[in-house]
Amino acid sequence: MARRDKLQGSLDLLILRALRGEPLHGYGITAQIQAWSEGELEVEEGSLYPALHRLERDELLSAEWRETEAGRRAKYYKLTRKGRKHLDQELERWGRLSSAIALFLERSDA
């Protein structure tokens, strides 16, 4: 059963991470996230697009309309330099946070 992750901060992180490689369109991003999380994470479309546009507005992403391989027009998103920097910072923070939580949770009660 797929877990729907709705936390905004995390969604941003997912999107940014998904775009670290090549530019993708909205659908491609959901596919990517699903694929990499091996089905565990499914993004709700209702929150995806507002998030994408917000990231574009805040200049973490840039966007461009292009043709897909199939020849149809879609809006492709890509990380900006500011976005890349932001991603690195967030990844680092996330890493520290999850280690801390893991440490806490595994603490023995002895």
Binding site: H25, Y27, S62, R72
Partner: protein, 845 residues
């Protein structure tokens, strides 16, 4: 992949979302789902497209509003944190903007409002010009008018008029209105349709056309007024129409000329050129006519000439406008410079803030926007305050306006134009005061900003110094200008009118009913004067058809068949000169011998005698008003206007020989009410057109004349304060930045006096530079002003006589004042510098 980011349109978002659904659908189909099912699933997974679309769009909208809100909040917070700065800045801005707006409303009425006559280009004025003094003009004669009317290649039509005052009687109340007697074709010449009713008919006699203003003011704006009767100067007229308020500003009513042009004397004109005719062609025709009428062969040669009635500068307007705009513009500059200066003072603090923001990734543009938001708020507050100041300013202008201008200015209003201007000004102010500090603050590098002593700010210090100097220069210009205006005003106020105005008053009377007719008037005047003289308190009483300060009656005269000119013509009772106390220079005054039936006599004034008779006027024969008179006396000049304009040439005739009407009673002593009661006025036979006190009138005129210098003084004082504050700020900043240096100096043995001198010398230098520039500026301005004025205006304001001694007086007065301020502004921080303990100073880092 650089692209201009602009918010996506709704359609774009739709396309994007649709693509997603379609992709999803295709994926499902690829996985084996039947197409219709796939579509349904895809749609379901997506949820409500409308909601998604709205949420997505909102992202972009909020950005705009969000940013703005944040910037404004930031600005407000910042301003609230420095209440001193905010108050000073807002107040100075309010005064500057308000002053400008008030003056704009004023100037707009004076100059910018178009006279909306159709085809203005072909509308001209034909007048007679004195060849030797081209600024001196007069109306044209009947011959000229008729000649042009009958047959002209250049002129389509020409209308003549005489301006005059009319006593309007409405419910036992008499109002004096400015009107004109016109040839009925004037409405066609000016080509303006009436608002109501019609214009005058060709052979009309008792018709009158009102101005919109008069119609509203005295007839309540009621349409029924048209067609009703009204009493003017004792005669009944029928109101036939109302003209719109832009038509012929300054005149309230128009009646037919009545008499034939020949009887009317000189006429002012409006003329329209034929289509396609250029002014030069018309001038040529006028030159021919001049020759034909032999105008250029008279002792004082004149010629017919064209004038563009709408050309600027013209009349007193330009002088007043210039002296109204200049100080306000200067003050506004000072205000802007000052507020920029004040803002720069907060540079240090803000520089650090901004540098930090930059380091954290904020764009420079963003920062500038943020700082401009602060300027915007300041300017908005200043603008709001300015509106209040402007309102108050306009009321003051109305009170102090010189009388000559009130005719052409309706009630001053802060109309849409003025308010729009105010808005524009506020916006411009924002840019002006914000741009420099914003650029500087956002450009500061982090390292230099974090340096505690801010020594990296020498550049900014120099700039501030420049600002302070320019403020001083502007302030100096203002002060010097004010000084000069003050000197001029004083000079005009001191002018000798030629008569003694103490306790002298006059009442203008219109005689009707049984008193109409020469005989009746003569008899009445004799009896009335006798009665009045007998009253206790009356030192002397006389009668005259024209008096100083009001009106005039110019007539052509000839002497010995050769000499000819124009002179004021008035009849006066025998003791007139005694009453007004104008001394007789030669010959005798009028006496009992000068009465009806005896040889016509005349007394002329010095100016006429000198100009036309080379001083030998006594005994000469002079033909004026259709009669030849012998000059029996020469009287001292009496000015007609309370300014520097010289007395006109005047011919006085004895009232008993020329009992014209209306006439003025001139009395020294007693009170007007008692005297008028004594002679039975006002009554059905004796209408009192106006009463005024010479002393009061002269005084009021003087007071009105102080309007300009007074407002200039106000602005100058303000400018001075601001310049002082600016200088104080600069010096203060400089001192605080050099505390270490002063500490070292003192440790090395410098005394308090040395430090003081050091600081003051440096700021003094800037001050003197500013003053020098300002002085040069004001001299240039004075020359410019003097050059743009017509000689008559110059005389009116006594500018011609602004000698070097006056300039020196005004200039040094201003300089002294400024010097005091400069020294004071420098002294206070300088003293602070001396109080610095060497130890503390050295530790300060």
């Amino acid at each position: 992949m650089r692209r201009f980011r602009r918010p996506p349109t709704g359609k774009e978002i739709d396309n994007e979302l649709r693509f997603h659904i379609e992709e999803c659908e295709r994926q499902l189909i690829a996985e084996g789902m039947p197409p219709s099912e796939a579509l349904r699933q895809a749609r379901k997974a997506f949820g409500s497209p409308q909601a998604v679309r709205d949420h997505t769009r909102d992202v972009w909208v909020y950005r705009w509003a969000d940013d703005l809100r944040r910037d404004l909040l930031f600005a407000l917070r910042g301003l609230r944190r420095s209440p001193g700065f905010t108050t000073v800045a807002v107040v100075t801005l309010a005064l500057g903007i308000g002053g400008c707006a008030a003056m704009y409303a004023f100037v707009e009425q004076l100059i910018l409002l178009d006279q909306p006559y159709p085809d203005r280009e072909s509308l001209v004025v034909v007048e007679e010009v004195d060849v030797q003094d081209p600024q001196s003009t007069a109306g044209i004669t009947a011959d000229a008018l008729l000649s042009l009317q009958d047959q002209s290649d250049a002129f389509a039509d020409i209308a003549g008029y005489n301006a005059d005052g009319f006593a309007l009687k409405a419910n036992d109340d008499v109002r004096i209105l400015d009107g004109a007697l016109v040839t009925p074709n004037v409405f066609d010449v000016l080509n303006v349709s009436p608002l109501l009713g019609r214009t005058l008919e060709q052979d009309a006699a008792d018709e009158v056309v009102l101005s919109e203003l008069a119609w509203k003011r005295y007839f309540g704006g009621r349409p029924e007024a048209v067609g009703s009767a009204v009493e003017l100067n004792g005669r009944s007229f029928s109101i036939v129409g109302v003209m719109p308020k832009e038509f012929w500003r300054g005149r309230d009513l128009w009646v037919p000329l009545g008499r034939t042009p020949r009887e009317a004397g000189r006429l002012r004109t409006w003329a329209r050129l034929k289509e396609g005719v250029r002014p030069e062609a018309a001038e040529a025709e006028l030159d021919a006519l001049t020759a034909g009428l032999a105008l250029d062969r008279e002792a004082e040669p004149r010629r017919l000439s064209l004038r563009d009635p709408f050309a600027l500068p013209g009349g007193q307007q330009s002088m007043v406008a210039a002296s109204a705009i200049a100080p306000v513009a200067l003050l506004f500059l000072v205000v802007c410079v000052n507020v920029t200066h004040l803002q720069l003072g907060r540079d240090l603090q803000r520089g650090r803030e901004m540098a930090l923001c930059r380091a954290l990734g904020a764009g420079r543009l963003r920062l500038i926007r943020r700082l401009m938001a602060e300027s915007f708020v300041l300017a908005a507050l200043g603008g709001a305050g300015g509106a209040a100041v402007a309102w108050w300013g306009i009321r003051s202008i109305e009170i102090y306006l010189p009388a000559e201008l009130t005719a052409s200015i309706e009630r001053l209003e802060l109309d849409a134009g003025a308010l729009g201007f105010l808005l524009l000004l506020s916006a411009a102010t924002t840019m002006a005061i914000g741009i420099v500090p914003a650029l500087r603050a956002s450009g500061v590098s982090l390292t230099s900003a974090l340096k505690q002593d801010g020594r990296g700010q020498t550049g900014s210090n120099r700039f501030r110094g420049v600002l302070a100097t320019s403020e001083l220069a502007l302030s100096m210009t203002l002060l010097a200008g004010t000084g000069m205006m003050g000197v001029l005003t004083q000079r005009v106020a001191d002018i000798d009118m030629g008569f003694d105005s103490q306790r002298l008053w006059t009442a203008r009377l219109s005689l009707r009913g049984p008193l109409i007719g020469d005989e009746a008037r003569r008899a009445w005047a004799e009896a009335a004067l006798r009665d009045v003289q007998a009253l206790p308190g009356v030192a002397s009483a006389a009668a005259a058809t024209e008096i100083p300060l009001r009106g005039g009656n110019v007539r052509r005269f000839e002497a010995d068949g050769l000499i000819a000119g124009d002179a004021e013509f008035r009849s006066v009772s025998a003791n007139y000169f005694e009453t007004i106390r104008a001394p007789l220079r030669l010959g005798r005054a009028f006496g009992d011998g000068d009465r009806q039936g005896s040889a016509p006599t005349a007394i002329v004034n010095e100016t006429l005698a000198r100009r036309y008779f080379g001083g030998k006027a006594l005994g000469a024969q002079l033909r004026i008003g259709g009669e030849t008179r012998e000059i029996v006396g020469v009287v001292a000049d009496v000015r007609q206007h309370a300014d520097a304009r010289p007395a006109p040439a005047i011919v006085y005739a004895p009232f008993s020989q020329v009992p014209d009407a209306p006439l003025s009673l001139v009395v020294r002593g007693a009170r007007s009410r008692e005297v008028l009661e004594r002679i039975g006025a006002p009554s059905g036979e004796l209408i009192v057109l106006s009463v005024f006190d010479f002393e009061q009138a002269l005084h009021d005129g003087a007071r009105a004349r102080t309007f300009l210098p007074a407002s200039m003084a106000l602005f100058a004082a303000l400018g001075l304060v601001l310049a002082g504050v600016g200088l104080y700020g600069t010096t203060s900043r400089a001192v605080s930045q050099r505390t270490q240096e002063f500490g070292v100096r003192q440790a090395l043995g410098a005394g308090a006096g040395d430090i003081l001198r050091l600081v003051m010398r440096e700021s003094g230098r800037g001050g003197l530079t500013g003053m020098a520039i300002g002085l040069a500026g004001s001299l240039a301005a004075a020359r410019l002003l003097s050059a743009t004025l017509a000689p008559q205006e110059r005389a009116a304001y006594g500018v011609d006589r602004l000698g070097t001694s006056d300039l020196v007086l005004a200039g040094s007065g201003a300089a002294a004042l400024l010097l005091v301020v400069v020294l004071l502004a420098a002294y206070i921080p300088a003293r602070r510098a001396t109080k610095i303990e060497p130890v503390t100073a050295l530790r300060h880092d």
